[in-house]
């Protein structure tokens, strides 16, 4: 082949190659072609597990009768049970309510199950709405139970109300105090048939508290474990706890008790904080005796905790929250604003704003409020948990003090049912967090079903307090997702609070992909 032809051929080949590569590199379109169909997940409906609520029973006394025996906790007295059971349950074949008293810690006796809801209980009790056919809608209409106990002894005073709860594997408590004169007992009941293991992580104003003794604890099946928090969390006045369970679901409460010297200062069952949100509503701030409290605090500083207090926990970013684009890292700060609105024109309320450090618990005193009915609207730059300590002070009774921890309310959208405690004076505190008016039907189950229940209207941002008849069965029905409520019961200068709960077993519809 002649030299010229060879050069021409080589050059042309090289030119074509470079052109092809350049064009291929620059002008390649972006596209994709899907090959093969994906099997779609089938929606399967599974009968919901029977609704089971666990009640703590009566209050726990540490140290035994003498109060000096280490590690000994016994339950004193009995608590009244306030339950609402759907009439449909009675009418449905194969449905029943079963109560099983669970053995307390250290108690080896086997207690037989009772049917129906007992009037009073002493031991932790699991109450189950058995529905073999799975036909009944679950929720507070089917079964809602709470307990109430008044303690009035020389070592133990206060009104303890507990909402019986569905067992869970993940519980938060925003409340508690283990400083001098303050006792916190974490009561964990395992109603399942397998042992559960729990880990408790504590947070305070400085962040996470190292407490190795609170991890890897075993709660035997059907038993209750009582933890003296002071053993591991000494002198912690600002606390939030996270309990996680594996192996079985558990129910838990934080029993908080105050002793000022030899004078009991009140007690409370603190229930789990269920709400984690950028916007929380804490109804039930029904202040009474503020003047008494102010007078006592002036001369006796140990009564300083008789002022209302907002406790906020700002969780740090987790993997889940990061996936959802929310949460800040520990050490950063977020702004939290609490608007406390009064129910009447005379009670203006107040506004609190503070920069809080992520990963810590902060107590914000609520000062300057006169007696009245208030609701706190808490907002933050990231989801937070919050609760309010509501005190009661009666200086005429040596003085008599008590407190309760109000939890952020869940949405009331739908129908909620509860029985008003038979003891004391109970009020329903409502708050409307939306920018529009909200309506609520409030009445007996029959009235709600018939649609003849009275309607309560709340303007945007409004608060309302409604007195309830003791022992009454109450249903609430609303379309609004912004309404929140708490029950506050006053009895003989003591106070307790109950959240409006609606427990139901989830996952009635599951997506199943069989591969």
């Amino acid at each position: 082949m002649s030299l010229i032809r060879r050069i021409l051929g080589s050059s042309l080949s090289l030119l074509l190659l470079v052109t092809a590569l350049v064009v291929g590199s620059i002008f390649t379109p972006n596209f994709s072609v899907e090959v093969g169909e994906l099997p779609s997940a089938s929606s399967q409906s599974a009968k919901a597990a029977d609704l089971r609520l666990v009640c703590p029973g009566s209050a726990y006394r540490s140290g035994g009768a003498s109060g000096t025996r280490l590690g000994v906790f016994d339950q004193v007295g009995t608590a009244e049970v306030n339950a609402i059971v759907s009439p449909k349950l009675v009418e449905t074949a194969g449905a029943a309510v079963q109560s099983v008293a669970l053995s307390a810690q250290g108690d080896s006796s086997v207690l037989p199950p009772a049917s129906g809801v007992p009037a009073r209980i002493a031991r932790p009790t699991a109450i189950t709405a058995i529905d073999a056919g799975g036909k009944l809608d679950q929720g507070s209409q089917l079964l809602s139970v709470s307990t109430l106990q008044l303690q009035n002894s020389k070592e133990f005073s206060g009104l303890l109300a507990a909402s019986c709860q569905a067992p869970s594997t993940d519980l938060w408590f925003v409340g508690g105090d283990t400083s001098i004169g303050r006792e916190g007992l974490l009561i964990v009941t395992n109603p399942s048939r397998v042992d559960a293991q729990i880990d408790v992580i504590a947070f305070n104003a400085g962040g996470r508290v190292k407490a190795d003794g609170l991890t890897g604890l075993s709660v035997p099946a059907g038993k209750t474990l009582v933890l003296q928090l002071a053993s591991d969390l000494l002198n912690q006045s600002t606390l939030a706890l996270h309990l996680s369970a594996t192996g079985g679901s558990v129910a838990a409460w934080l029993q908080q008790r105050t002793m000022r010297g030899t004078i009991p200062g009140g007690s409370d069952f603190i229930g789990p904080a269920t709400e984690l949100s950028k916007s929380l509503v804490i109804p039930g701030l029904l202040l009474r005796g503020t003047a008494d409290a102010a007078a006592i605090i002036k001369t006796r500083p140990e009564y300083g905790d008789q002022t209302p207090l907002l406790r906020v926990f700002v969780p740090a970013m987790t993997a889940t929250s990061a996936a959802n684009g929310a949460g800040a890292k520990a050490g950063q700060t977020v702004t939290v604003t609490a608007q406390i609105f009064g129910a009447s024109a005379r009670t203006f309320g107040t506004v609190l704003r503070q920069e809080l450090t992520v990963g810590t618990v902060t107590d914000i005193p609520i000062t300057g409020l006169a007696d009245g009915d208030y609701v706190a609207f808490v907002s933050a730059e990231q989801p937070v948990r919050a609760s309010i300590r509501l005190p009661r002070t009666n200086k005429t009774k040596s003085p008599a003090t008590d407190f309760t921890w109000l939890q952020a309310g869940e949405s009331l959208q739908g129908i909620r049912g509860f029985r008003v405690p038979q003891s004391g004076v109970t009020k329903l505190s409502l708050g409307n967090a939306s920018k529009s008016e909200a309506r609520l039907q409030l009445g007996s189950p029959a009235q709600i079903i018939a649609g003849t229940a009275p309607i309560v209207t709340l303007a945007a941002g409004a608060v309302r307090t409604i007195g309830l008849t003791a022992g009454a069965l109450v249903w609430m029905k609303t379309e609004s997702s912004a309404l929140r409520a708490n029950l506050v019961t006053d009895l003989d200068s003591t106070v307790s609070s109950l959240p409006i709960t609606d427990f139901k077993n989830s996952a009635e519809q599951l997506l199943i992909s069989v591969r």
């Binding site: 072609v33 089938s42 409906s45 009968k47 594997t169 399942s192 192996g247 984690l276 599951l510 591969r515």
Partner: protein, 988 residues
């Protein structure tokens, strides 16, 4: 007595050959006393007018053999006196074929033998080639010691070297002069015998009757051999010439063996035919397969006719066959004949490529040492390649099998025993999920081949393969580069480049087993294809046998490549077609290469294209689906190196290390042989474009065994195609270096390439992260594996909560939403690599919607997850579930699922295992908890066909004895002698 010769010409119709034969007959110096033309054609095409008045035309319409043809003129043969009226005549007939023209003195010479030797009854002439009278076609026939028909003199030049031969065992019928009385006494030709056995059978009977059979070398007949050339009507031989010859041998075996042997032979003839067919493949004569098989069945179905011939054999016998042993062919003769046949076959097929001589007689004294030294430097050891191998082994130490199974990336252990692995290959039913009727992956054959290396522990072979991937790739590339260059250092450099190429390294580190296997085997395939096609330099001696061996190897390697990386096939098949049409002489050989691949792939391709209407699914990689990064075209050109070690904002350094190779490859276009370089560049671009397209295909990835990944779709893997492109680029680079005539620039470029590409690539491989680790091969908890080992057929339900994964409908803010669970049913000892099925992946969407069992399992899972107290024991029994496994994960969904399972009375917790939490079903299906009474058969029609073809190709691939080792006689002169000691053309 005076001989009366009747010339009988048997014709299968009018032809030019007949005209020449008849004229030669008429021109005889000693004319035949009578001439009879027997026309056996069906159309009666010979006219009487073509004959002289004295010549007689007899119609034997449709006669299928000589016996029937001669029967038509039997009376003329038996009574010569009647036609002449003379007494004292001895009748002889001279049998001629229509393609056998006697020389003018042929009859005279034959009769001279009669005069000299009155005891002779049959005389045969010297048959010469019709087109080349210098070559002897036949001079007598005999049998070998084994009883096969043997022509002692065939294909030799006539130099009168055999003119001393007289007594033989048999003569051919073309030009045979027979004493009529003897013919009639022994019963004539056997009508039951095949035509190609008739002459030898007749002659042996004549011998056994006490008469002599001789050849008359001075009597010469030109014979065209139309029967053996297959140019006669098919009814004459009844089959192809090769099969006809085989039938002739088989008939003689039955007729002349002892009664017992004959009976056994007939009864087992199909098996004997099968065994001989297999032996033909092993002996590199696959063209004899049909002949052997058909003969076996022919003997069986014509057994009575074969056995009937034995009575004719005994008729009038005075001698036994053993008495004729002195006339049989010696072993020496048979060996020499085979050698000659092989060389002749090589010359016919390979032409100038066939190498004959061992040493070049033109080499001067002393030059031999130079040649030997040069050959040593080109050898693998002489070029220092072993040092490179050692270095690669050292780099691969991270893959050293510290336990019996490798796991990680796309690698799973294989089945624990070889038999299970065997049952999975080519099966039509997959015991995965809820059972799947569909073809298994062709890749299972590859896994079977690998697992067979360590049959006591198949997974170990897989682990060893991962360890040896780079050394094997190096050796393959080294061998393949020998097609282009003889320089040892160039081959070392090119092979190292290939072994360390980024795509191959990535495939190894990420555990992309199918792509890795395909990549390692690619250069071996290229080498074998080139050798089969007779292309490339430095070829060893070529022969038909070796060509068949390379065809066998190529077929197996193409099967391996196509099964491991189906997306390679479009480019490879185009390349094969190009080679096929550039080597038309080898068409008959090369055409068979895709056969094993076609056999293995057809069921799956048919299933996906016709059954599922998913033609693109055929391009999906087998094994566990693994996602691949999307690359730009220029990144693919550079080898798709990992984007690591940022280099001043130009991207990772690893991407750019292949630039010197690309530049050299481009330089190849400026060489003299730019056409060759352009062709290679076309291959490279084709591979890169295919890789780019494949990456854009999103294959469904959900199926049994895919629970390890969260993705629903994975894009196609380009690594095998990138390796193919790499081979092209490296070949071009080596070619460019080889073409450089000046040493200095060659050394500079090579050094730059070694420093910029090889060393960094080695470092990247050595420091690269891999997920591959080694375990004992279990993929399920020990208790499940132990129960499976005892034969339990219970399945394990593997549950996973994917509610938190991408795309779920969980509402984060409220923590509520729809739970989404996945469920896999795995059988026995879990999902191994040979259980994974591509067909199942693409069929699952349809299966789940039409088979009610999927809905039942879904409901079961929902009931288990909700812990609603439903009695799930019947559902667990129906589904054959014995265990439930929850893989270890810290998600809230998994915790809740575990709690729900704990709460179920039908389950008891076994506890935490290496694979997650395990529960045992309290009351499982007891029938399934024991080994099955009847083991399901591993066979299917598909599998049998595939296995036969694969085994056949394995036999074909096994090298046979070298033809060059045979001795040749000095008098032989062969055409096609080459003067290149190393033979072969340059690669073109």
């Amino acid at each position: 007595m005076k001989p009366f010769v009747t010339a009988v010409v048997v014709a299968t119709g009018d032809s030019d050959y007949l005209a020449v034969t008849m004229q030669a007959l008429r021109d005889q110096r000693r004319s035949a006393d009578r001439i009879i033309l027997v026309d056996t054609s069906l159309e009666q095409s010979i006219a009487q007018s073509n004959l002289l008045p004295a010549e007689q035309l007899i119609s034997a319409k449709g006669a299928k053999n000589l016996a029937e043809a001669l029967d038509s003129c039997r009376s003329a043969l038996s009574e010569p006196s009647k036609s002449t009226g003379e007494e004292h005549l001895e009748g002889w007939f001279w049998l001629l074929h229509d393609d056998s023209a006697p020389r003018v003195d042929a009859l005279e010479q034959l009769l001279r033998v009669v005069e000299v030797s009155p005891s002779v009854a049959v005389i045969g002439p010297k048959q010469l080639q019709w087109n080349d009278p210098r070559q002897i076609m036949q001079l007598g026939l005999t049998l070998t010691r084994a009883g096969a028909i043997f022509s002692p003199v065939a294909g030799e030049l006539d130099q009168a070297q055999h003119d001393h031969v007289d007594d033989v065992m048999a003569v051919g019928t073309a030009g045979m002069l027979v004493r009529s009385s003897v013919y009639l006494a022994v019963g004539g030709f056997d009508a039951s015998a095949p035509n190609l056995a008739a002459d030898i059978d007749f002659s042996i009977r004549v011998r056994r009757a006490g008469h002599r059979v001789v050849v008359a070398p001075d009597a010469q007949v030109a014979h065209a051999g139309l029967s053996l050339a297959g140019k006669r009507p098919k009814r004459w031989l009844g089959t192809s010439p090769r099969a006809a010859l085989r039938r002739a041998n088989a008939h003689l075996r039955v007729a002349y063996s002892s009664a017992g042997v004959a009976l056994l032979y007939v009864l087992f003839s199909p098996l004997i035919g099968l065994a001989r067919a297999i032996w033909s493949v092993a002996a590199k004569h696959p063209n004899r397969i049909w002949a052997e098989l058909s003969t076996g069945f022919w003997v069986f179905f014509t057994a009575f006719r074969r056995l009937r011939s034995r009575s004719l054999v005994r008729r009038g016998s005075k001698l036994t066959l053993r008495d004729l042993d002195g006339l049989r062919a010696t072993r020496q003769q048979v060996r020499q004949q085979r050698l000659n046949d092989a060389v002749r076959e090589d010359l016919e097929v390979l032409g100038q490529e066939a190498v004959v001589v061992e040493a070049n007689p033109l080499l001067q004294e002393g030059a031999i040492e130079t040649v030997r030294a040069d050959q040593r430097s080109k050898s693998f050891g002489g070029s220092g390649a072993y040092w490179w191998l050692a270095a690669l082994l050292g780099l691969s130490l991270g893959f050293w099998p510290s336990a019996s199974a490798a796991v990680g990336g796309g690698v799973l252990p294989l089945s624990s025993d070889w038999y299970t692995l065997f049952t999975h290959a080519g099966s039509s039913y997959q015991n995965i999920g809820l059972g799947f009727f569909g073809p298994s992956d062709p890749f299972n054959w590859v896994l079977l081949a690998i697992g067979s290396l360590t049959p006591w522990q198949p997974s170990l072979a897989l682990a060893i393969t991962l360890f040896l991937a780079k050394p094997l790739a190096f050796i393959g590339a080294w061998k393949a580069l020998s097609l282009i260059t003889a320089r040892g250092w160039a081959r070392n450099l090119g092979a190292a480049l290939f072994a360390l190429w980024p795509a191959l390294t990535a495939a190894q580190l990420e555990g992309r087993l199918p792509a890795l296997i395909a990549s390692v085997m690619l250069p071996w395939f290229i080498l074998s294809l080139a050798r089969a096609a007779g292309m490339g330099q430095n070829a060893p001696r070529r022969s038909a046998g070796r060509t068949w061996s390379w065809v066998g190897v190529s077929g197996l390697l193409l099967l391996l490549l196509g099964s491991s990386a189906p997306n390679l096939l479009p480019v490879l098949l185009i390349a094969i077609v190009v080679v096929l049409f550039s080597r038309l002489r080898k068409f008959g050989y090369l055409l068979w290469i895709p056969l094993p691949l076609a056999a293995a792939l057809t069921p799956l391709v048919y299933f996906e294209v016709v059954g599922l209407l998913r033609p693109l699914a055929t391009l999906a990689d087998p094994g566990l689906p693994q996602p691949s990064s999307l690359h730009q075209f220029w990144q693919l050109l550079l080898g798709a190196g990992a984007n690591t070690t940022a280099l001043w904002g130009w991207g990772g350094y690893a991407i750019w290390i292949t630039v010197p190779v690309l530049l050299l490859a481009a330089l190849a276009l400026l060489s003299k042989r730019f056409v060759f370089a352009s062709t290679l560049w076309l291959l490279v671009i084709g591979a890169l474009v295919s890789a780019w397209l494949v990456e854009r295909l999103q294959f469904a990835a959900i199926g049994v065994g895919s629970s390890a990944i969260a993705l629903e779709r994975v894009n196609g893997s380009p690594y095998a195609l990138l390796t193919l492109a790499a081979i092209g680029l490296i070949a071009l680079a080596v070619f460019a270096l080889d073409q450089l005539s000046v040493t200095a620039p060659r050394r500079i470029f090579a050094t730059i390439t070694a420093v910029v590409t090889v060393l960094p690539a080695a470092a990247l491989f050595a420091t690269g992260h891999t997920d591959i680790h080694h375990t004992d091969g279990r993929v399920v908890p020990s208790i499940v594996a132990a129960e499976a080992a005892r034969g339990s057929q219970l399945k394990t339900l593997v549950l996973k909560d994917v509610s938190d994964s991408v795309g779920s409908s969980t509402d984060w803010a409220s923590g509520r939403g729809t739970r989404h669970l996945t469920a896999e049913l795995v059988s026995g000892d879990g999902i191994q690599l040979d259980d994974v099925s591509t067909g199942y992946r693409f069929a699952l969407a349809g299966l789940a919607s039409v088979r009610p069992e999927y809905a039942r399992v879904g409901q079961l899972v929902a009931d288990l997850a909700s812990a609603n107290g439903t009695d799930v024991t019947p559902a667990l029994r129906d589904s054959g579930i014995g265990y439930i496994l929850l893989p270890t994960t810290s998600s809230a969904g998994a915790k809740n699922l575990a709690i729900a399972l704990d709460a179920n009375d039908a389950l008891e917790s076994v506890g935490q295992t290496d694979y997650g939490r395990l529960w045992r079903v309290t009351h499982p299906n007891t029938e399934l908890s024991v080994a099955p009474k009847v083991t399901p058969s591993p066979w299917s029609i598909t599998k049998v066909v595939q296995l036969i073809i694969i085994l056949g190709f394995i036999l074909l691939a096994i090298p046979g004895r070298s033809v060059a080792n045979g001795k040749r006689r000095e008098s032989e002169i062969f055409v096609g002698q080459t003067d290149e000691p190393n033979g072969g053309d340059e690669f073109d």
